[in-house]
């Protein structure tokens, strides 16, 4: 079913994206502002469901690559959002028909809205992760042998490149180098898919899901009901801990905001390990939940999501776990985004505390 995304829905989308960003993804303000400006200038965006996607469609993902801190200083121009999509279409010799989000967390859920508005293309009600992850190849299409390449990238100066690489690993390496040279905040477009592949490889309905989370938070507060309970209900997850942040250790190594936060509650203490996103929750030496399921930290009262950068001593928080797309639990997917990949020596644990079935 298709629907129209107006400027009014963008704040809800950005708030929902901050929840699904599981602590990472940067400040959603600039992305939301960019999307709102694009919609104001070019008109609202048509969002279409995967069921309506024609077989011969050409779908591209759009995302920002680089440092969110740079993006709040060197603000984007719409040209650099649009240019990589056009360049990739030209390189493929076909008209791009649809734009999609690579991830539904942080700024990368609002940038594709700006792209769709400026290009006059429909946006898919879908994304490549159903959450946020830090690396380019960490998308479900990878499991369907869809590669990031050919991938186009562009900067605000008008520089555009199209990469044709042998694998995602090389795409990531080369794009990162270009990204730094171009000022550490670039727009990328890639993962070209036709309708048949996109329908099976993407997470269906994630944009409306995201808007529903943001809207639910605001509504619950207006109705004076518990916003955290509302988020849990929409996510079909569970609240598994509540308490006070008593310690946050950070170390920025290899470009990621890595660290651990300790939360004291009435039933003991919880340790969260994060690398941009929250990746593992432990209590008394026992692992409770890990990536790829979602670990979300919300303000105790308002239910507003708290980023890993925003965690501070004394905050009263509630911690929610929610299921990720079931395909993330296949062995080859766990090898890509499970706890082991991020350097945590543990088997993955589902949001409800169960172990992954050993296959």
């Amino acid at each position: 079913m298709s629907w129209i995304l107006t400027a009014d829905a963008i704040d809800g989308l950005a708030r929902g994206a901050a929840v699904l960003g599981t602590g990472g993804g940067g400040d959603p303000y600039i992305g939301a502002l960019l999307a709102r400006r694009a919609v104001d200038t070019h008109g609202p965006v048509t969002v279409i469901g995967l069921d309506e996607l024609p077989d011969d469609a050409l779908v591209l993902t759009v995302a920002m690559m680089g440092a969110p801190t740079v993006m709040v200083e060197k603000l984007p121009s719409l040209d650099e959002v649009v240019a990589p999509v056009r360049a990739l279409g030209a390189s493929l010799g076909r008209a791009v028909t649809h734009v999609a989000c690579a991830e539904i967390g942080g700024v990368n859920s609002t940038i594709p809205v700006a792209a769709a508005a400026a290009l006059g293309l429909p946006l898919l009600d879908a994304d490549g992760m159903g959450r946020a992850f830090p690396e380019l190849q960490m998308v479900l299409p990878t499991l369907y042998d869809v590669t990031a390449s050919p991938l186009a990238f562009g900067d605000e100066k008008g520089n555009v490149g199209v990469l044709n690489t042998v694998d995602n690993h090389w795409t990531e390496r080369i794009a990162r180098v270009a990204c730094v040279e171009m000022g550490c905040s670039i727009m990328i477009s890639g993962f070209p898919m036709d309708g048949n592949i996109a329908r099976v490889a993407l997470v269906d309905g994630s944009l409306s899901h995201c808007v529903a989370i943001g809207a639910g938070l605001v509504e619950a507060r207006a109705e004076k009901t518990d916003p955290v309970a509302r988020v849990v209900e929409i996510l079909r997850g569970r609240e598994f801990f509540a308490g006070k942040v008593v310690d946050v250790e950070r170390a920025t190594t290899t470009g990621f905001a890595r660290g651990r936060a300790t939360i004291d509650g009435t039933d003991g203490s919880l340790t969260l390990s994060f690398q941009n996103e929250h990746l593992m929750a432990e209590s008394d030496g026992e692992v409770l939940v890990t990536t790829p399921d979602l670990i979300i930290v919300l303000d105790h009262e308002s239910g507003e999501p708290i980023t890993t950068e925003g965690l501070r001593y004394g905050q009263r928080v509630r911690v929610v776990a929610a299921p990720s797309d079931p395909r993330w639990h296949a062995p080859e997917a766990l090898a890509m985004v499970g706890p082991g990949y991020f350097g945590y020596e543990t088997a993955s644990r589902r949001f409800d505390g169960t172990r992954e079935p050993v296959l």
């Binding site: 303000y29 600039i30 502002l33 960019l34 400006r37 694009a38 680089g66 440092a67 969110p68 801190t69 740079v70 709040v72 200083e73 060197k74 603000l75 984007p76 121009s77 719409l78 040209d79 959002v81 700006a114 605000e156 100066k157 008008g158 730094v180 000022g183 550490c184 006070k244 008593v246 920025t252 470009g255 990621f256 905001a257 941009n276 950068e309 925003g310 501070r312 001593y313 004394g314 905050q315 009263r316």
Partner: protein, 517 residues
């Protein structure tokens, strides 16, 4: 001797100080015009403790004039915002997301030009002098009287802002004020630029107010220098105020907190200011308020200048008490307390009624609350204490114990011992605490920039930044030997190569009154 004056929204407090001793204090209603309020305050002090104009070595003034002018959108100059950064930043030009009433009030004009830097200091594009001259001519043609210049990554390198200011000034002449973003805010272009535009819009008013304050003080035979309180509790001289009026914005809560701390003899403490509707909790560290790490909205505009971090919870003397649950607030009878509270003959059970029933306060008619169940009264007061303690605990940054100072009319709601924190300090002479806060004579220098720290070079970089902050404090008028670093913060920036690190250092010293007078 020196004089401290705090011009608040409602009251103007003034104190005559000898060192840290209060010789006289007065409180008057704030007057609509600057001059008569100051005259009234100084004459009041003379009545309390006579002095000659020549006995005064400095006059420190805290004022809400500037933030009020912005909130009311009155007396603002026609202002232009010029950003250097093309071809970047085009999608979100200056003044994006401003409320329309305010852009109208400043007859705002927005310009984008080439320039700006990358995160590592490489230029995005060179300045185009002709482009800037064209923009300046357009500003002149449209009656612009104040200009805000921002540049991408000016906290890393501010050369282009300075150069562009020179080019624009050549066309606009000396009567048009120019404010530069790197002198006002930190990383976060839109927020820094917004703060700079607000500053620009206030520049004409700043000159007017400084002239008014100066002539009022001079008319009293006082020739000593005049200083204004900044958001962070340090002072700025009158020339600085003319350039950076925006730095006075949060001096009200800051002076109140600092005054509370000083009158209690504490330097590091939590201050709980309980009024009619809310309890406002702030933290003082070495005499200075802890500042917010987040964006602050002022008059609907998102900015990132440093404001004291204040947490408000809905507990005050007028808070309505739920008879069933014993919960307090956030609903409050506010200023109608003296007619609506039970002890004043009203029909609403308020927190003040509970305090009277418990014998903590002696206001109104206690017989009107004699029927309240003592168990219920205790439960309500315990709950208030628990919530305030929890809020103080939220504000502190570590589990280290910290003394709590309670001020304001609603502080009768607090027990003598607060859970987690122990004894509650209640300063005497609090009525003029804001003026005492204003009179604390300290000046500071702050550096907040992004540095590329080379491997093994961290200590050298940090030492350089610390020295720079100390020099800045001395340049602001601090006695060299008295300067110390009061705040240091070092945050690596994720996803950036080359160990890009944001370093923030604040140095503060005692005002050298001998030199300044």
């Amino acid at each position: 001797m020196h004089i401290g004056i705090d011009v608040g929204g409602t009251n103007t407090d003034a104190v005559l100080m000898d060192g840290r001793q209060t010789l006289a204090g007065v409180k008057n209603a704030t007057t609509p015009d600057v001059t008569s309020g100051i005259v009234q305050a100084i004459e009041g002090l003379r009545t309390g403790h006579s002095f000659d104009g020549s006995d005064i070595s400095a006059v420190m003034i805290g004022t809400t004039h500037f933030i009020n002018a912005l909130v009311q959108a009155k007396r603002l100059a026609p202002t232009a915002a010029l950003r250097l950064g093309l071809p970047a930043t085009k999608a979100l030009p200056p003044l994006v997301d401003w409320p329309e009433t305010l852009t109208t009030a400043i007859s705002a004009r927005s310009y984008l030009a080439h320039g700006g830097y990358e995160f590592d200091g490489r230029p995005i594009s060179p300045l185009d002098a002709d482009e800037l001259r064209g923009i300046a001519a357009d500003m002149a043609a449209n009656g612009v009287r104040s200009v805000a210049i921002s540049s991408v990554f000016s906290p890393v390198n501010h050369d282009l802002e300075t150069t562009a200011a020179g080019i624009v000034a050549e066309i606009l002449g000396p009567d048009v004020a120019i404010s530069l973003s790197h002198e006002i805010g930190r990383i976060g272009l839109l927020e820094r630029e917004n703060a700079t535009i607000i500053n620009a819009a206030l520049r004409e008013l700043a000159s007017e107010i400084v002239d008014g304050l100066t002539s009022a003080v001079r008319a009293q035979g006082i020739t000593a220098p005049i200083f204004l309180s900044q958001n962070d509790g340090t002072l700025m001289d009158e020339d600085y105020v003319r350039l950076y009026p925006v730095a006075t914005f949060a001096s009200g809560p800051t002076n109140s907190m600092r005054g509370a701390a000083l009158t209690s003899g504490l330097e590091t403490c939590a201050v709980v200011d309980i009024g009619g509707t809310t309890a406002d909790i702030g933290l003082l560290v070495n005499g200075f308020p802890r500042e917010t790490a987040n964006e602050v909205k002022v008059a609907g505009v998102r900015t990132n200048f440093r404001m004291p971090d204040v947490l408000s919870i809905g507990i005050g003397g007028g808070s309505v008490v739920d008879l069933d649950t014993g919960e307090v607030g956030p609903e409050s009878v506010g200023y109608r307390l003296t007619t609506e509270a039970l002890v004043f003959g009203g029909s609403t059970l308020t927190a003040t009624d509970i305090a009277v029933a418990a014998g903590r306060a002696d206001v109104g008619d206690p017989t009107r609350v004699a029927h309240l169940d003592p168990v219920f009264v205790t439960r309500v007061l315990d709950r208030i204490a628990e919530r305030v303690a929890e809020a103080v605990d939220r504000m502190r940054t570590s589990p280290e114990p910290i003394p709590v100072v309670a001020v304001g009319g609603g502080s009768i709601l607090l027990p003598d011992e607060l859970p987690l924190f122990g004894a509650v300090h209640r300063p005497e002479n609090y009525a003029v605490a804001n003026a005492i806060g204003a009179s604390i004579a300290q000046v500071g220098g702050e550096i907040d920039k992004v540095y590329a720290v080379r491997p093994g070079g961290r200590d050298e970089t940090v030492a350089g930044v610390r020295a720079e902050a100390v020099d800045k404090a001395i340049a602001a008028g601090a006695t060299p030997g008295s300067v110390s670093i009061v705040d240091f913060d070092e945050v690596p920036i994720p996803y950036l190569p080359g160990n890009a690190t944001r370093i923030r250092v604040k140095a503060v010293g005692d005002l050298d009154m001998a030199v300044s007078s």
